[in-house]
C-alpha cells in the first residue's frame, strides 16, 4: 500500500517535471520566434555578401554534432555506462565551447556594423542564442561534476535528461536561426 502510494507520487512528480520543462521550452520559443520575426521586419530578406558562409556552416555542423554526443551521453547513463556518459558529456561541452568561440570569431570579423539593420538582427539573434549555449555549457559542467559524485544512475537521471533536452532545444533554435541569418534570400 505504502509502496503503491510512493510509486504514484513519483509518477506524478515525473510527469510534472516533463510538463514544466516543455512549458519552459514553449515560453522560450516565443522569445526566439519574436527575434526571428524581428530580423525580417528590420531588414527584410537582405543578406550581406560579407557574411562568412564557411564559418556559419562550420559552427552549425559543430552544434549538430554536439546534439549527437549529448544524445549518446543520455543513452549511456540510461544504460548504466558511466564511462561512456562522462566521455560524451565532455565531448558535448568541448563542442559547445567551440561553437561559442566560432560565434565570437564571427563577431570579430563581421564587416557590418551592429547599428546596421542586418547587424542589429544578427548580433541580437546570435548574442541571445550564444547566451543560451553558454548557460547550457554551465549546466553540462554541473552535471559532469555531479555524476562524478555518483548522483546519477540508470534508474535515476532526470537531471541529465533535463539538461540534455535543453541542449537539443538550443540546437533546434539554431536550426532556424542559421538559415534565417545566413541562407535565406528572395
Amino acid at each position: 500500500m505504502a509502496v503503491a502510494a510512493i510509486t504514484a507520487k513519483e509518477r506524478q512528480r515525473a510527469s510534472i517535471n516533463q510538463l514544466g520543462l516543455w512549458l519552459f521550452f514553449l515560453s522560450e520559443s516565443f522569445l526566439f520566434a519574436a527575434l526571428a520575426t524581428g530580423r525580417f521586419y528590420i531588414d527584410g530578406l537582405n543578406r550581406p555578401e560579407e557574411l562568412s558562409q564557411v564559418l556559419g556552416l562550420g559552427i552549425t555542423s559543430i552544434l549538430l554534432l554536439s546534439s549527437l554526443t549529448a544524445y549518446r551521453a543520455e543513452a549511456a547513463i540510461a544504460n548504466g555506462d558511466r564511462t561512456a556518459f562522462s566521455r560524451f558529456l565532455l565531448a558535448t561541452i568541448v563542442l559547445g565551447v567551440i561553437f561559442v568561440v566560432g560565434v565570437g570569431l564571427e563577431w570579430t570579423i563581421a564587416e557590418f556594423d551592429p547599428s546596421d539593420p542586418f547587424g542589429t538582427a544578427f548580433f541580437t539573434m546570435t548574442g541571445i542564442h550564444a547566451t543560451h549555449v553558454i548557460s547550457g555549457i554551465v549546466m553540462l559542467v554541473m552535471i559532469y561534476f555531479l555524476s562524478r559524485r555518483g548522483h546519477f544512475s540508470a534508474e535515476k537521471h532526470w537531471g541529465v535528461e533535463g539538461v540534455v533536452k535543453y541542449w537539443h532545444f538550443v540546437d533546434v533554435v539554431w536550426v532556424f536561426f542559421y538559415p534565417i541569418l545566413y541562407l535565406v534570400s528572395w
Partner: protein, 84 residues
C-alpha cells in the same frame, strides 16, 4: 528494472530504443540525416534565388527530427504506463 520504477526511470531506457546499441544506431542515423539536410540547405542557398519556402521547410524537417528522436517529444504527453 524493478517493479517500483517511476515512468521517468522506465523511459530512460525505453526512450533509447531499449538498448545502447539501438540508441547508438538511431543517433548516427539522425545525425547523418541532419548533416545531409544541412548540406542540401546550403547548396540551395548558394544556387537558388527566392529560396525562403524551401529553406524554411528543410529547417522544419530538421527540427522535427531533433524533437522526435533526440528530445523524445512524444514522451512529454505520455502517461508513463504505456512506456514499460
Amino acid at each position: 528494472m524493478t517493479a517500483h520504477d517511476t515512468p521517468q526511470e522506465k523511459s530512460g531506457r525505453a526512450g533509447h530504443g531499449g538498448g545502447l546499441t539501438s540508441a547508438i544506431q538511431t543517433g548516427w542515423v539522425i545525425f547523418l540525416a541532419l548533416a545531409l539536410l544541412t548540406l542540401i540547405e546550403f547548396i540551395i542557398a548558394v544556387s537558388l534565388e527566392a529560396n525562403l519556402p524551401i529553406i524554411i521547410a528543410i529547417a522544419v524537417m530538421k527540427a522535427g527530427l531533433i524533437g522526435w528522436y533526440f528530445m523524445h517529444i512524444v514522451r512529454a504527453w505520455s502517461s508513463g504506463e504505456d512506456e514499460a
